[in-house]
Amino acid sequence: MTMQRRQFLGTMAAAGAVLGAPAVFGQAKPRVVVIGGGAGGATCARYIARDSEGAIDVILVEPSEVYYTCFFSNLYLGGFRDFESLGHRYDKLASDHGITLARDMAAGVDRDAGTVTLAGGEMLFYDRLVIAPGIDFADGSVPGWDLSKAEIMPHAYKAGPQTQLLKAQVEAMPEGGTFCMIAPPNPYRCPPGPYERISMVAHLLTQANPSAKILLVDPKEKYSKQGLFEEGWQRHYSGMITRIGPDFGGDKVEVRPEAMEVVIDGEVERVDVCNVIPGQRAGAIAEAAGVTDDTGWVPVNPHSMASRADPKVFVLGDASAQGDMPKSGFAANSQAKVAAMVIRAELSGSKAFPAKYSNTCWSLIATDDGVKVGASYEATDEKIASVDSFISQTGEDAALRKATYEESLGWYAGITADIFG
């Protein structure tokens, strides 16, 4: 925000072979490259392009043609939504806002030169870079598991074929079989996500395979909305779900995918489905760009979402380490708007305003039984700090829970329109 509006002529001169480089010197428009078309990246691209009305060139680098939201993917597992309803295309970003879509992976970033190299070899010059690649999994987080085992023991923590695979596996479980989830250590995307998933799997099994069991192996002492989930599990799925926390070895777990075995503190369990959600870190391109710290996440300036290592590189969503906000689609979308506002101010001289952030996460426990937790945040110099919050209460009546669920449907329609146009 304090940065001066700058001249780009110097950098433009070096950018001969660049995609869409303006032909005429001196008429160069400032350019923003956004890596990752998820909740953070696509929102940021859309807000910059929409609000600058053509004054800034925006290129969105994203390999997939269709983005499947992780949010609501648990509802698909529970049978409340079909898979297609999770898919969103990027077409409107191009047609309505003039964003250039580069359908490729970003393979490298040269921050000194101000360029991004795509897997296909193309090089993109940028004035500002936005990195929003979501998460990757931390190596060795669950001994015995790595990505090559995800076809046997799916993570289903990036939505798409993995989510479909997990659902097919649950549906194919033998009568009275065991579904096991290995929950991740903190920090990870969507704190209530694993527990909403347990609820949805329980919902599905209660109908199709009521004598089945669910084993939740959890390295954490406590988790998000715990009281609400436990109350709901007791009410709707009594006797089906067993949670093994760290006091019973939930933090000492190993898997043997070929044998479909889970070893918990030395005890071997045979299971029928095993959903391994490993520990997480920022998407790999963040590390390649040299902006991560030794925790594997990217420290950012709370006022702008610019990385601490480089004020021209903004990092949004799950990949960032910003303070009190959870890693959620709502949070990524909220952060993207702050970054878009700051980037526009820096590149085109529009007004800069103080950062405001907020988050709400809804979870579905059973049919029409929705709960929510949310907070608002402000930027301090150290971190994004929570200033106010609320959470659903245990013992709420059915009408309120139903209204909360309906609200979440409204939110899904709202946020996906806000991200993809």
Partner: protein, 239 residues
């Protein structure tokens, strides 16, 4: 009329503060007898008293301390039902705001009544209604400041002209939930409201007159100019 309101307020305070005699009684809200006459405004739609039945509006016996939209057998609007479910309780403060301007208090309410603008009239009317509530004398007087209902926000707040660029930025936060195209499934639409209604509704959340926790939090941290900027922006949104 401003004079009368001020006198009443002074009187109420004096009564409430008087030691001994009145300590166990709730202070007067207003003149219930005069309120009975003003109830003529309502009686086309509402009945009150021992024989009261639901009519165009629900019967108003026992309304103080009751959850909104809670009379059995009355078909309330979605909006008032939602407010009740979210925890709206009829108190002096919330009734005053509702009667003053039903639509800004619960947009979408089926009560097609433009609102009783005069503060003293409302105080008198509510004093009358309170006599038909359970143990009316036990219902405490709200703190005097809470009496000012929303529609009487100082004119300078209502007249604030928002900065549209700021409104556009702030609106980003709202559009995560409220769709820019005005869609209203699950979450109400907030596009193209008259600016004043919008400002009043936001202040109703800010002052926790409207019950919803998400909106109380969102509005709670918005300054007056920010609410004005948002109202200006959403009023013009035609996308």
């Amino acid at each position: 009329m401003a004079g009368r309101g001020a006198t009443c307020l002074a009187l109420c305070l004096a009564l409430a503060g008087a030691p001994g005699t009145t300590a166990l009684r709730a202070a007067e809200i207003g003149d219930a007898e005069r309120g009975a006459e003003i109830f003529g405004e309502c009686s086309g739609c509402h009945e009150i008293g021992p024989e009261a039945e639901n009519a165009i509006g629900p019967k108003l016996n026992g309304v103080f301390g009751r959850r909104a939209a809670a009379v059995d057998g009355f078909a309330y609007s979605k909006s008032l039902t939602r407010a009740g479910r979210d925890g709206l309780i009829w108190t002096l403060k919330t009734l005053d705001a509702y009667v003053a301007n039903p639509r800004t208090f619960a947009s979408g309410t089926r009560m097609s009544y433009p609102g009783l603008k005069d503060e003293t009239d409302r105080a008198d009317l509510l004093a009358f209604l309170r006599d038909y509530s359970d143990r009316p004398r036990d219902i405490p007087e709200a703190e005097p400041t809470a009496r000012r209902s929303l529609p009487e926000l100082p004119p300078d707040i209502l007249a604030l002209k928002g900065d549209p660029a700021y409104g556009e930025y702030l609106a980003g936060e709202c559009q995560t939930c409220h769709r820019a195209d005005g869609g209203d499934a699950g979450i109400p639409s907030i596009t193209r409201w008259p600016e004043e209604d919008f400002v009043l509704a936001m202040h109703a959340y800010k002052q926790k007159l409207r019950p919803h926790p998400v909106m109380q939090m969102m509005a709670g941290r918005l300054a007056e100019e920010e609410i004005a900027a948002l109202a200006a922006y959403f009023a013009t949104l035609t996308e």
